[in-house]
């Protein structure tokens, strides 16, 4: 990898998360779950949440599905970021926080890839807890709920 742009987009940590995704798997009898699709490439992701005893704090969160390095890495990072937070906190999680974690400049198309996990997680929490949907979704079905 001698190309600096290439090096910056597919930096070590992205590839590491992609190759060794954290929280990859399924939670049986999850307290919250949702499935999201990226209509541009047909990628699908499912997110599963288990709450702690307070019924609010995320005790465990996992994802399954297929996707590109950016979407898989971003979702993997998201799993780490959100474990231990409350549903409400995650619903309010600003996408900039996740983007900072990803730490590479994204074009609009790849932004959709990066946001697929977060949007799907917020939809899962919305369905289980009635927490607010993300900006783009509020009113506008940025994501087909399946």
């Amino acid at each position: 990898m001698s190309d600096p742009a290439l090096e910056s987009l597919y930096r070590e940590v992205i590839l590491d998360h992609y190759k060794n995704p954290r929280g990859h798997g399924v939670i049986e009898d999850a307290d919250a779950e949702a499935e999201g699709q990226n209509p541009l490439c047909g990628d699908e992701v499912s997110v599963y949440v288990a709450f702690g005893e307070d019924g609010e704090t995320i005790d465990d969160v996992k994802f399954s599905g297929r996707g590109c390095a950016i979407s898989q890495a971003a979702t993997s990072m998201l799993m780490e970021m959100t474990k231990g937070r409350t549903a409400q906190q995650v619903a309010e999680l600003d996408k900039e926080e996740l983007l900072a974690e990803i730490g590479v400049p994204l074009t609009p198309v790849r932004l959709k890839c990066a946001m697929l996990g977060l949007t799907t997680l917020k939809v899962a929490l919305h369905k289980a807890k009635g927490t607010p949907l993300p900006e783009g979704l509020a009113g506008f079905d940025d994501l087909e709920l399946t």
């Binding site: 699709q37 209509p39 541009l40 047909g42 074009t107 609009p108 198309v109 790849r110 009113g139 506008f140 079905d141 940025d142 994501l143 087909e144 399946t146």
Partner: protein
């Protein structure tokens, strides 16, 4: 609709932006008085389109590569410019279409095929352009609904006293009218009709094709549910227009055109629709045309829509005065302060085709015909009229050229 005099445009200077005026017609200076039919294009718009093709062209939305990104962001920037022009709440409510006609058909089909049925009524006015008349007539008939037409007075205002009877006898589901008439030039006050429509639980569809080029169109102030415009009438390229619709209505609607891009997922047993605006934009978009429309919005806003409106009122007043000098002329429509830059007339019983042809030989381009308003023509008791229409590049001396031309027409038929 008062003339706001503070912003004044310099038509002579603006005219230099339009390459079409660099030539003569039949050896005479071109007096292009057919802008309500379609406007000419400034170099700024043509250049923006060329630059786009030369540096940023690719298909949109789908591509990961740099050209695809540039093209997508150019298209979406144009959408934002149209949203701003119309003061629409959200750019995703702006659907790119070919022209206002397609925008209205989109609503007539997509909303009408799923919401109209026997016992329902669609209400239009006698002053509608065929594009806001025939789609409703056709879809209403197909659905077994009633198609009703409000009569108008000589200013072009619909007779609101008919509304009570309409409401009593019908379930009104759609009210569709223009904001500015392309044949009489009338600028309508839509407020009473919009509230009446909403009291009936009907949607209000506003044909702003003739309004958007000439004045500030604010979809929130109008209170309409759908508003359609055409790019080619407002300094933009042909092949592009926009439909604005309320998000909640658009989201609830079935799509209209089906195909690539407007889907979420496709399976033989089940297909789901994409988000707004994509759900209504099947197939490859009119990409460069949208970019050109965005550049046209830039151009119009730089000139100032208030200034354009004021300029047109001035020209309309001047034209009505000068045309009244021509013996045997009949002028149609409201007083100058209530009209956009459009003047329809007949010259005795000389057929408009002959009037327009003789004017053309003198470099004056006007339109002769029914202006896609046959119901109005039936009302006026004529087959056709002449129509001179003005825009930001129109000069008073072009109106003088028209008047001189009309005298020449009279001589031929003397």
């Amino acid at each position: 609709m008062a003339v706001t005099a503070h912003a004044k445009l310099d038509a002579r200077a603006l005219r230099r932006d339009f390459p079409i005026f660099e030539q003569e017609m039949h050896g005479k200076p071109l007096a292009y008085l057919d802008s309500a039919n379609s406007s000419q294009k400034p170099r700024q718009v043509l250049d923006a389109v060329d630059r786009f093709y030369e540096t940023s062209y690719a298909n949109v939305h789908r591509a990961v590569h740099l050209l695809g990104e540039r093209a997508t962001s150019a298209l979406e920037h144009a959408r934002v410019r149209v949203r701003e022009l119309l003061n629409a709440p959200d750019a995703r409510e702006v659907i790119f279409v070919r022209n206002a006609t397609e925008g209205i058909n989109l609503v007539a089909y997509s909303w009408g095929l799923n919401n109209l049925g026997p016992g329902d009524a669609v209400v239009v006015t006698e002053l509608e352009h065929h594009s806001n008349f025939v789609p409703w007539q056709y879809i209403a008939r197909r659905q077994g609904a009633e198609f009703l037409m409000l009569t108008i007075d000589e200013n072009g205002d619909p007779d609101l006293s008919e509304l009570e009877a309409v409401a009593r006898d019908h379930t009104v589901k759609v009210v569709a009218t223009n904001l500015v008439s392309n044949s009489l030039g009338t600028i309508h006050d839509l407020a009473p009709l919009v509230s009446w429509a909403h009291e009936q639980g009907a949607i209000f569809v506003c044909d702003a094709a003739q309004a958007a080029p000439h004045m500030k169109v604010d979809v929130r102030a109008i209170g309409a549910d759908f508003v359609a415009i055409s790019g080619h009438k407002m300094c933009g390229p042909s092949g592009i227009g926009a439909l604005w619709g309320r998000g909640e209505l658009l989201r609830a609607m079935e799509p209209f055109l089906l195909g690539g891009h407007m889907i979420n997922s496709v399976r033989v047993d089940k297909t789901t629709w994409g988000e707004l605006p994509h759900k209504f934009e099947a197939g490859t978009s009119p990409i460069a045309e949208a970019v050109g429309l965005g550049a046209a919005v830039d151009y119009l806003e730089a000139v100032g829509l208030d200034a354009i409106e004021a300029h047109e009122h001035e020209l309309a007043a001047y034209a009505l005065g000068r045309l009244a000098e021509v013996p045997g002329i009949t002028l149609y429509g409201p007083p100058a302060e209530r009209r956009a830059g459009v003047v329809s007339f007949n010259l005795g019983d000389i057929h408009p085709h002959d009037v327009a042809q003789i004017l053309d030989l003198q470099g004056v381009a006007i339109r002769a015909g029914h202006h896609c308003c046959q119901p109005l023509m039936q009302k006026l008791g004529v087959a056709a009229t002449n129509r001179a229409s003005f825009y930001l590049y129109t000069l008073p001396e072009e109106i003088d050229q028209l008047v001189d031309g009309l005298h020449a027409v009279r001589k031929v038929f003397a």
